[in-house]
Symmetry: C2
């Protein structure tokens, strides 16, 4: 959805890159440490042609970058860029919504490695400290 | 992508409902106050058949609900449910990623209505107070 790039909305501009479930799940798996084509394919049960396209798009868009891990035969894997790393909070925000509104039976859980507490993601406005959605918002269109 | 419901990952289970750009943009517009089919259609420039399908799915999945606003002729519009309202933080997290990694030229901006400060969304772990991605995470698979 390339035309989303032209919209005055950063949500739309972001979704032009990561606005589909496969791309977000590939990014999730990359955060879990997966780097190789076959690892993503097995984890996601995704058709190879779709995976190839998605990995190429995520690489071109700067969320992943190719890294050569074997010269003979030539083989690349995929590692997170800064932009890819910065997607982790979005993934946790999506998961937190799911924890409220989807079945939580038999789900993977996430804990703070040091403190041992379960991670409880909340999106706050760092300017006020208040969770997003608890205060009135003023929308200012461009121009 | 109904099969995502069976995955042990809440991100996947969430994306089975909101894992496409159109659905998320409809939800964004609903948060901006749009309720009627024609308002969504004009805002998004979306084909009516696609919009009809997406609105039906979002209603069935419990993110929007139909409200009859005219009896003669019978006309419904769409209002946010609790689950739909709770998606606002996800949308802001996506926008915050875009503010870092997409062009911010000519974008809509969001301010705290009372304090006047620009909203700066950050996803934190409310258990530790730390932004997600700044501390080690331990992943615990189900079972």
């Amino acid at each position: 959805m390339q035309n989303l790039d032209d919209q005055p909305c950063l949500i739309a501009r972001s979704l032009s890159l990561v606005g589909d479930a496969w791309s977000l799940l590939i990014m999730r798996d990359a955060h879990a440490g997966l780097t190789r084509f076959d690892e993503f394919r097995k984890s996601l049960g995704i058709a190879p042609t779709i995976l190839t396209r998605r990995l190429a798009a995520l690489t071109e868009d700067g969320l992943l970058e190719k890294r050569r891990y074997s010269e003979r035969p030539p083989r690349d894997d995929y590692v997170l860029t800064r932009a890819g790393l910065d997607l982790l909070p979005v993934l946790f925000a999506i998961g937190a919504w799911g924890r409220k509104h989807r079945s939580t039976k038999g789900v993977t859980r996430f804990f703070d490695a040091e403190k041992g507490s379960e991670i409880d993601p909340v999106v706050i406005d760092s300017a006020t400290g208040a969770p997003i959605g608890t205060r009135q918002i003023r929308i200012v269109p461009p121009g």
